[in-house]
């Protein structure tokens, strides 16, 4: 089945230790998104790639970076995780941009714990 895969499902890191979360997709979609969702909060868009074009949200901290080496993979790098970065990180894809009304397909998420 075509899908969006996120590994690992749970990631534990230490305060200040860089961590990378990964997302892959078999849908061959052009757009990939990273969201942060804290408990009882709405998913918050961090950035997205339209093909290789990177689009950063204005309020995404510099501590968060992303890489998309090819169509299938997208990575979220947190350079120096703080306790406040503990959250669920959701990856999503869509064939075209969200502005076209297309639905996004979400992965199961990676829950990040910062000790």
């Amino acid at each position: 089945d075509a899908m969006v895969i996120q590994n690992p499902r749970y990631q534990v890191t230490q305060f200040g230790k860089p961590v990378t979360l990964s997302c892959s997709q078999t849908l061959n979609h052009n757009v990939m998104y990273w969201y942060q969702q804290k408990s009882s909060q709405a998913p918050k868009l961090l950035f997205h790639y339209y093909d290789k074009d990177f689009n950063n949200e204005a309020d995404t901290p510099d501590n968060f970076q992303s890489r998309r080496p090819n169509t299938s993979f997208c990575f979220l790098d947190i350079r120096s995780p703080g306790l406040g970065d503990a959250a669920m990180y959701l990856c999503a894809t869509s064939r075209r941009g969200a502005g076209s009304g297309e639905t996004q397909y979400f992965g199961p998420g990676t829950r990040l714990l910062v000790l």
Partner: protein, 111 residues
């Protein structure tokens, strides 16, 4: 400043009855609205959408109503089934590809 608001954190409905989930928004520039459903330990899955130029969209047991003058949309599920127990997110899309989610409403379907 929340542009998409789901004011009810949770809702309980008897099986077989109608579930009505509400969402309010503040930005009149939203082009599309979507509803997502989320089970524990899974990512959100798309349920139904509506364009800002329409006022109703129906898909099986799910109907979304849009009231632009009130900046309000609602998702109706009828009849409600046990498998409908989940968290429901309302989301709105701006033309520049920005998508904004509400905080979600947890729906409990009671036997």
């Amino acid at each position: 400043d929340q542009q998409v608001k789901q004011n009810s954190p949770s809702l309980s409905v008897q099986e077989g009855r109608i579930s009505i989930l509400n969402c309010d928004y503040t930005n009149s520039m939203f082009d599309y609205f979507l509803w997502y459903k989320k089970y524990p330990a899974e990512g959100p899955t798309f349920l139904i959408s509506i364009s800002s130029i329409k006022d109703k969209n129906e898909d099986g047991r799910f109907t979304v109503f849009l009231n632009k003058s009130a900046k309000h949309l609602s998702l109706h599920i009828v009849p409600s089934q046990p498998g409908d127990s989940a968290v429901y997110f309302c989301a709105a899309i701006l033309r520049d590809d920005k998508i904004i989610f509400g905080k979600g409403t947890r729906l409990h379907i009671l036997p």
